[in-house]
Amino acid sequence: MLTGMPLDGRIVHEFRSILGHSGVISSPEELHTYECDGLTNFRVMPCAVLLPTSTEQVQAIVHICHREKIPFVARGSGTGLSGGALPVENGIVLSLARMNRILEVDIPNARVVVEPGVINLDVTGRVQGHEYFYAPDPSSQSVCSIGGNVAENSGGAHCLKYGFTTTHVLGLEVVLPDGSLVHLGGKTLDTPGYDLAGVFVGSEGTLGVATKIILRIVKRPECVRTLLAAFPSTNEAGAAVSGIIAAGMLPAAIEMMDNLAIQAAEAAVHANYPDCGGLLLVELDGPVAEVEALLIHVEEISRSNGAWEIRVAQTDAERALVWKGRKAAFAAVGRISPNYIVQDGVIPRTALPQVMSEIERLSKENGLRVANVFHAGDGNLHPLVLYDRRIPGQEDAALALSFKILELCIAAGGSITGEHGVGEEKKSMMGKMFAEPDLATMQRVRCAFDPFQLSNPTKVFPTPRLCGEKPGEYVPHPLETAGLAERF
């Protein structure tokens, strides 16, 4: 692992002189809060947590980190599910929570400029009076931050139609790992040069720290209709999804839950879901006449694929309840199991029946229950592997099972992560999804941004690599001579 020296008092003092006493957390009791993110089975204590309130402060901190070669991990709300904000040993955590101002709202141009600590849902809150919304809607949207969304390229149920965070980020102000400040993209489209904003979004904090983000907002559609269809199993529900797509429709969202997930959601929020083997939630939005026509079509397709009950949410309150059950599904699994692991694989939609039966087989083989919640429209699976940590060996078995499911996704031509990121959790799977030259090329891009590997250095990639400026002109790093790292 690439890490700096433990912090000495001189450096802590320097951080305090930049941030004041309230901006530096270094007592062990308080540091505990930051030892993990939403992925709680990995924990590392940081040396210190810094809470800057301005871009200048972020720059000053990163300058010191660069000078002293101290690794840093930027953190938003800490809701990530892959350990992206897990601290690095001997490193600091840069919490952007206090940089939470909405700096500019420009309705005519449909742009909003925010600091990274702004909460996702607050962007919509700020523009809904004008009937606009911020489209990416991860299930944690009431608490997760835009900075974290940028790092992970967060999705959500509605990205089927509206795209991901990267679709809605037009520009960024970024503090690079050497402390310099750059602007990527901008308020206008196609700024000259490489699309580095496109590279930065989804880079999981490994390329620098975003301090300002220019977002695109979207006008609310004329109407929204949400349909709930109950099927005997996920196979029939999956066939209905294929039918909807084949009919040339692009719904705002298509979500699927299996029976175990439905039971959990019912136990937690009483969403009044029908008790069935496969539940489909289809949301259509757009002009009234179009949506009404398509809704009839979706009903027909559902029935012809075996749906035995179809409901259309009649009021906003009913619609909200339908979504509440879906968005609470992960946490709800806590009602039916003491512990669980959430995975985030993606498969081509057509592989769904085959992958589902494989998951079922693995579940039986390993004696572990798996609940399934999907963004079915785009093939994003969230299998929840249920286990009990108190039973010796079960956590390891659950983890192994969740990785086997990801291998199924790779074999089906899919991906190990659709929206949660690779982070700490899945970096060992990267070598199964990508060939060595693919990963090496990504690492070369990383070297352009962060030659000393200070920004979230241990995440995403399975093997650390060092960045030599030119072959033959470098001094070997101790890790390299020890055979623990490679260099380009």
């Binding site: 309705i107 310099s180 750059v182 040069g193 040339g248 002009p287 006449a289 991906s415 693919d438 352009a448």
Partner: protein
């Protein structure tokens, strides 16, 4: 020396894959010596590596329709053609994705997709000749971008060959995927300066069941601006919105709708009530050829304006990018610059804030107008890229002033193309 190098390529790729160039192969008046046409991605990567080892400057070429975009190359030794990588590798129609060789033309791609009622939801220039690799490298997009996004939003996977012979894939074959860096976006719009795209994977959209186009006449640019903002701020589900401006006639807007018939009637009614006093009429789908019609037909001599302009004036075409609320202000700037330089002009702007400007007149005057326009657009956060320039045009950088991220872009370039063999001198600030 030339023969020696040429023989190395023949040895590597076979004789049929290496040809001498003709004057028609010149790139912005710089003459490369030979063309190589690898038959596979592996061959292309090997050819690139050989060029790198032989310190030869490489100009990647697809259909050649936009080969003059960008600054003239500082060196050009060989054209690396993707013409033989022209297969549709996999149309996974039920998953709405396609994997395609970089040398496939857009027309062939669209015809293949149409067999299953699908399309790449993009309207690039010269689809019958333009290739996948070419439109990606130049980031070409048209009116459909308003609804479906640009290539960066449609590409989900890419394979690129690097000068050291690496063949690297990133992204994948599924629409939703955040594993690893988003190199498809890095390759898009990089003008072939980081690597040569050998294949791409796109997300697809269904072909529309019905389409309807409407034209709205506006009295003056301010009214056009108001209409654009009103339509954008409305609940209409239009897929494209463009505005024509020209010196002598009042501006007009075109609006495109797609969808089920019932929905379209309601949309038309709403558009009418929104436009009220402005004249509105159903339009031919041909209005969406307006962007391509700004150009002289491909292969006509540069500087000879054809089509609706009978006189042979030097001709320049620029892509501009502004904020959507600055359309009218930008037109005022264009008018002032064109009038003071005695130029004929025509502009096509989209509701996204992207647009196209055609200027005709003596080269010196065009040059003068472009300098002042770029200065003003950049001042308000916009940009101007000169894509088509007359022969014997005074020095004018095609891309404009780089942002503070230039050193970072240069670092990325150094990592992937350390000896600057790919399209040298052509992109922003020599990237």
């Amino acid at each position: 020396m030339l023969n020696e190098t040429e023989n190395l390529f023949r040895g590597l790729l076979g004789s049929e894959a290496v040809h001498r160039t003709s004057p028609a192969d010149a790139v912005s008046a710089v003459q490369p010596q030979f063309i190589v046409e690898p038959a596979t991605e592996q061959q292309l990567a090997a050819a690139l590596r050989l060029a790198h080892e032989s310190k030869l400057a490489v100009i990647p070429r697809g259909g050649g329709t936009k080969l003059s975009w960008g600054n003239p190359p500082s060196r050009a030794d060989l054209l690396l053609s993707t013409a033989r990588l022209n297969r549709v590798l996999e149309h996974a129609w039920a998953d709405l994705t396609v994997t395609i060789g970089a040398g496939c033309t857009i027309q062939t791609l669209q015809q293949t997709l149409a067999q299953h009622g699908q399309r790449l939801a993009l309207d690039p220039l010269w689809p019958e000749k333009a290739t996948v690799g070419g439109i990606l490298s130049t980031n070409d997009s048209g009116a459909l971008r308003l609804r479906f996004g640009a290539l960066r939003d449609l590409i989900i996977g890419v394979t690129i060959a690097l000068p050291d012979g690496t063949l690297a894939s990133s992204g994948g074959k599924v629409v939703k995927n955040v594993a690893g860096y988003d190199l498809p976006k890095l390759a898009t719009g990089a003008l072939g300066t980081l690597g040569v795209i050998t294949r791409a994977v796109f997300r697809l959209h269904p072909l529309p069941r019905n389409t309807r186009s409407f034209s709205v006449s506006a009295g003056h640019p301010d009214q056009a601006q108001k209409l654009v903002l009103a339509i954008q701020d409305s609940k209409l589900a239009h897929v494209a919105l463009q505005i024509h401006f020209r010196a002598e006639t009042p501006p007009s807007l075109d609006v495109l709708f797609e969808g089920p018939e019932a929905g379209l009637d309601a949309q038309a009614t709403q558009l009418r009530s929104l436009c009220q006093s402005a004249g509105i009429s159903e339009a031919s789908p041909n209005v969406w050829n307006a962007r391509q019609n700004l150009w002289p037909p491909p292969n006509s001599a540069a500087g000879v304006a054809l089509g609706d302009s009978p006189e042979a004036f030097p001709l320049a075409i620029a892509k501009i990018s502004i904020l959507p609320a600055d359309l009218a202000g930008t037109i005022a700037l264009i008018r002032r610059a064109a009038d003071s330089s005695h130029l004929r002009w025509k502009s096509l702007l989209y509701a996204t804030g992207l647009g196209w400007l055609r200027l005709e007149g003596p080269a010196e005057n065009v040059h003068h107008a472009l300098i002042s326009l770029r200065r003003n657009l950049e001042k308000s956060g916009g940009s101007l890229a000169l894509l088509h320039r007359p022969a014997a045009f005074p020095a004018f950088d095609a891309w404009g002033t780089p942002a503070d991220s230039l050193p970072l872009m240069q670092a990325v370039k150094r990592q992937l193309d350390p000896s600057h063999i790919l399209n040298p001198g052509r992109f922003l600030s020599g990237l």
